[in-house]
């Protein structure tokens, strides 16, 4: 009886809200918007409709992202208790801190290796698997790490990178390979400062390549088969087809995936947080920001770090604007 009561009072209303309420609100907005537009004079319609269609999106990002972002930027100009305006003093504090520069260096490493490797694997897997019959199983297996939560991902890679002293049986997969096959000394993957950043980036690339692959593959499927067939009939080799047809047509999507990966690299947090928590010189800006915010309660420094992250994206945006204009000019 208890279960039934709970179902009727808690779960059923939720279920109704999800199954009926949400679609009804969405459809209602579309229908009401359309009715409103119909009542407008013909000449006003093209200038009203876009705002009606982007309106909800603008509202959501304004509340959940723009407002907090401006709040953060504003907060970064005040001292730690937040009662005195200090202009750029927080930025000076942060940028003269040696450990922040280590985090910046690591973010640069992430930016280069994470982005390039994930894009490369994603593109390679999307293009290659498109040409074999067992495409679906291959893509599903590569995608699988995406379905794993970060906590599980950390557990997996702790098994991969685990270290035992030389002579003891290795429990980590990679050290078993290093000692068993290459007869070298086991490596402290997460502590050795020459390689630990790459170890973290490797785990992240493993997790995200499925993302790049799925989006590139979706774009690849939009390229008409006749186009490739015609090129083959004309005697074009596969490499030529890739370079002259696939790559240019995929370029806008590569830009989208690349941009997203660059931003993910700048925001890299979860893997560092769960695997090393920034120790052994593996810290990154987002983890540093998190520590300032939740461990030290230092809103001044964490806000300044967040703004530095946001400023770092500007070059990527300029690149996007150019791409964007180029596509526009072509049609």
């Amino acid at each position: 009886m208890d279960n039934l009561a709970q179902f009727l009072t808690v779960q059923l209303p939720t279920l109704i809200a999800v199954v009926i309420g949400v679609p009804a609100v969405l459809a209602g907005y579309i229908v009401l918007g359309e009715l409103l537009i119909r009542r407008l004079p013909d000449s006003a319609r093209p200038s009203v409709r876009p705002w009606l269609w982007v309106g909800p999106a603008l509202f959501f990002v304004a509340v959940f992202l723009v407002y907090p972002a401006f709040g953060t930027a504003y907060r970064s100009l005040f001292n730690r208790p937040g009662d005195a305006f200090v202009a750029l003093a927080n930025y000076v504090t942060v940028l003269t801190d040696q450990t922040v520069w280590i985090a910046i260096r690591n973010n640069v490493l992430w930016l280069i290796f994470y982005t390039i490797l994930a894009l490369l694997f994603g593109l390679l897997l999307a293009v290659l698997s498109d040409r074999v019959r067992y495409e679906t199983p291959v893509k599903s297996l590569i995608f699988m790490p995406m379905a794993i939560s970060f906590t599980a991902l950390a557990v997996i890679w702790r098994f991969m990178y685990s270290y035992q002293p030389p002579g003891a049986p290795q429990t980590g997969t990679l050290n078993a390979i290093v000692t068993g096959i290459f007869h070298a000394d086991p490596v402290t993957w997460l502590q050795d400062e020459r390689i630990n950043n790459f170890a973290l980036i490797g785990a992240a690339v493993w997790g995200i390549s499925g993302f790049a692959m799925v989006i590139l593959s979706a774009s690849l499927k939009g390229i008409p088969g006749e186009l490739l067939e015609a090129a083959r009939v004309d005697g074009a080799g596969e490499v030529t087809i890739f370079r002259r047809i696939l790559l240019p047509l995929l370029m806008p999507t590569i830009t989208v995936v690349g941009t997203t990966l660059v931003i993910f690299a700048l925001k890299a947090f979860d893997i560092v947080y769960v695997m090393t928590n920034g120790n052994y010189h593996t810290d990154v800006l987002a983890n540093r920001m998190y520590k300032e915010l939740y461990n030290a309660g230092n809103f001044a420094n964490s806000s300044a770090l967040a703004v530095i992250l946001l400023i770092a994206v500007i070059p990527v945006l300029i690149f996007n604007l150019r791409q964007f204009r180029a596509v526009e000019a072509r049609r």
Binding site: V54, V66, P68, F121, S140, M144, S149, Q170, T173, F324
Partner: protein
């Protein structure tokens, strides 16, 4: 462009090609391709395989030997880790909550993003490109800095610890990527499509529902997969806005609680990982079939 030719020619070619020397040469020629794909795939599944094997091993063996040793006799497997996870109180309730959070938190942003992305790619309005760029820039906002301002807003509005609040938050967080991805695909649609529809007198809403959406199915499918997955696997947003009470806790929160504050019981995470992976994988498999070539074929007569 002739659509008919490959359709007629292809089967003939296949029949003729089988078991001729040329076919064998072709097969040998594509051998590097198969080796590359299968090699990459195997390298990719080793870590997951290690976790899968480990999830069936008792704790006592975790720390003392590698997972591959379990693959040879004596086979010492156990279901204890799974039993412990499946016996967790409220597991059913958590699954239900996860669905109730993830479905609207996928449907709302996808719908909102589709309309916005269409206006960004095919309508003209003041400041369009700059607003779009600002949208991309918002991808870079670290979510951690939004939690405190948004939470205080939610408390004022009475939205904290409600599903509605989490749906709205996930919508806000997911929109920049969703719009960015969809606008890219919508923009790639041929302009002739819209011209011919306009000549036929179709309204904007008709063009959107009858032409743009059906032609963008692979893009929509990938967006749905990712948004669902991110929400399903999210721990941080759920913890901040919902708190940890069992009535509203999603699977991630309940499973994270399996591990004690001192890290004891972390072996259950191996089994928990597979339990929580099932649903995202089902979503992926069921949407996988929309990744097919030729949705655009024949839509434009050129």
């Amino acid at each position: 462009m002739s659509v008919a030719r490959p359709e007629v020619a292809a089967p003939v070619e296949v029949v003729a090609a089988r078991s001729t020397p040329r076919a064998i040469a072709d097969w040998l020629g594509s051998l590097p391709l198969h080796i590359a794909i299968i090699g990459l795939t195997i390298a990719w599944i080793v870590p997951t395989l290690g976790l899968l094997v480990s999830s069936f091993r008792p704790l006592s063996e975790f720390a003392t030997s590698g997972w591959w040793t379990a693959l040879s006799p004596p086979f010492n497997f156990t279901l204890d880790n799974y039993r412990h996870v499946l016996d967790t109180s409220n597991l059913g309730q958590s699954f239900f909550n996860s669905f109730m959070i993830s479905i609207p938190a996928t449907v709302i942003p996808t719908t909102v993003a589709a309309f916005a992305a269409y206006s960004f790619s095919w309508m003209r309005f003041w400041g369009r490109d700059w607003i779009f760029l600002a949208m991309v820039a918002l991808l870079a906002v670290p979510l951690q800095v939004t939690f405190i301002p948004v939470l205080s807003l939610f408390i004022k509005l009475g939205l904290n610890a409600t599903f509605l609040g989490v749906w709205l938050a996930h919508t806000g967080y997911g929109l920049p990527f969703a719009i960015y991805l969809l606008a890219n695909f919508f923009r790639a649609l041929p302009a002739d499509l819209f011209e011919s529809a306009e000549i036929d007198g179709a309204g904007t809403l008709t063009v959107f529902f009858r032409i743009v959406l059906p032609l963008s199915v692979p893009a929509l499918a990938s967006l749905v997969i990712f948004q669902f997955l991110w929400v399903w696997n999210d721990l941080l947003v759920a913890l901040i806005y919902l708190g940890g009470t069992p009535e509203v806790a999603p699977l991630t929160v309940t499973l994270a609680n399996l591990v004690g504050s001192l890290g004891q019981g972390y072996q259950y995470l191996t089994a928990a990982a597979f339990v929580s992976m099932i649903v995202p994988l089902i979503v992926f498999f069921s949407l996988q079939r929309y990744f097919v070539r030729g949705i655009l074929a024949g839509s434009v007569k050129g």
